[in-house]
Subunit: 309 residues, 2 copies
């Protein structure tokens, strides 16, 4: 991450873990923060990105891809914000207590508990992330939430019709309410998958900027660097199924797909910057896309409401 | 508390609760902070005492009378500090995984895990409290700890020979290592119990100041205002015994004893201030005893080591 000049990263610390198990993941990160203070520290506020730049380190922001860490207890939302969580998906592929995941056949929208949870997340400054949610749930969440929401990692469905990519009306609902979309570099979300060219990706960025404005898009790499295939299996089935579910993979190719040659790992962010320059994007727009927009979004959305007291 | 001009209070949020149960107690306090922001807020640093004074509110600092909230997991110490815990007793009357409680017949001193825990508490800024520990364990903790420790609520045994009060060598070990003792107003710890006079209490304060110096003593009221007797039963036996244990009470008088007339509840702190004036204590010394010493102790001991990064 230091080689790629990554000042801040939103890391996943829960896929299916319950409250106690997610706390164990925090403990693991705390040990890394203690062991490698010259490289990383726990990021909690936008100002930590400035601190990361000033001290040549990476600020690690915590997020959940599933609401499992709050179990059935709304009081855990504030507890998690205090422990540094800053993003929480309302669903991870499947139906949750809060909303419907993008792999379910019927999307019933935001549940009774989901409405209460959105209000509490708004209050404490925990961002609603709908990357793995159904279309109806996402549009409802964008409308119900009184603060902007995010799709932290997905691409436009019009560019690559993957189940996890987002249709125009979904992107519009998020952006019209002030939200952000982070573009994914996970091969299953790319046009041509692992063979997607840098230019194709950069043209998608430019076209999306033209359609929705430059201020509401950024990166959301979905990068699983140096993770074994056992991790992708945990992501896909957790404990919810005895049968294997291959998600976006197949029985023949169950593991992580190969990354595109121009984005192999955290060291390659400069390739994207160069690619955007080559297709003629202005340096201001590139800067907004590469981090400026997320910086502003972090500054606006991580603090509690009425924090002045 | 506002009527008694209490700017800060160290409240107990765990007696026998495990990690998850103590988090539920935090959630209850969070609801109170949300409902009564004009009266109370969660205190985390000495500067919150200034904020409390400036905004005419009371800063609530969290403490544990038992190490049960960390269970057998040293990683939970930093998690708890992040959640705002600032004091943790290594034992509550009984033997714990860390040390020996004051009701056990044999005190084996600080355990293997206890030594690791003391080091980690020092690192993160969680204060070691030995109010309910055995003499040997307390003296060892004071010596092993690289930061000052506290006996937050007890009185000198020489003044009132109660099991929970502290002998000279124990008080010396704590104070010689920079620590603090907070004097208790729980009747079982007072000379004459509920009939203890204000003057007797104030003379004990003055004598202790003369013996150990004014800078290491303060209040630690042990007040259980408006708590039902079911709470004292939970304190005494939790889940560790099927038989009732009356602690400092008896089968005939199992509930909370009546408070002394000059300290019925949180509104009566000014009586102590007046009592100290009447026996001739200087206003500087009274101010140190009533809060100044704890303020300095909080400022020195709640921050993590190497917090400059």
């Amino acid at each position: 991450m230091r080689e790629g000049q990554v000042d801040a990263v939103h890391v996943t610390i829960a896929y299916h873990e319950n409250f106690r198990e997610t706390v164990l993941n925090v403990e693991q990160w705390n040990r890394w923060f203690e062991q490698f203070p010259h490289l990383i520290f726990h990021g909690k506020w936008a100002s930590d990105i400035d601190r990361a730049k000033q001290t040549n380190r990476t600020a690690i922001f915590f997020g959940f891809q599933n609401p499992s860490p709050i179990e059935d207890d709304i009081g855990l939302i504030e507890v998690w914000h205090t422990l540094g969580a800053r993003f929480m998906q309302l669903t991870y592929n499947n139906q949750s207590l809060l909303a419907t995941g993008c792999y379910e056949s019927t999307d019933a929208g935001i549940t009774r508990m989901g409405k209460q949870v959105i209000k509490e997340m708004n209050r404490v400054g925990l961002v609603i992330d709908m990357s793995h949610s159904g279309d109806k749930s996402t549009i409802e969440a964008a409308d119900i939430s009184e603060r902007p929401i995010a799709i932290t990692h997905a691409n436009p469905y019009d560019w690559m019709p993957a189940l996890r990519n987002k249709r125009h009306e979904v992107i519009s609902a998020v952006i019209d309410n002030g939200g952000m979309i982070g573009f994914s570099l996970y091969p299953h979300h790319l046009k041509g998958k692992s063979d997607c060219s840098l230019k194709e990706f950069c043209l998608m960025v430019a076209n999306t900027a033209e359609k929705y404005g430059i201020n509401h898009i950024g990166l959301g790499s979905d990068l699983c660097q140096d993770q074994p295939d056992s991790i992708v299996e945990w992501m896909r089935v957790g404990r919810w199924s005895k049968e294997m579910d291959y998600g976006e993979g197949t029985a023949d190719a169950p593991g992580f797909p190969p990354m595109p040659v121009w984005f192999n790992d955290n060291r390659d962010f400069n390739n994207i910057e160069n690619g955007l320059t080559e297709i003629g994007m202005s340096s201001d727009d590139i800067s907004a896309f590469m981090g400026g927009n997320w910086y502003r979004f972090y500054a606006d959305n991580f603090t509690p409401l009425n924090a002045g007291d």
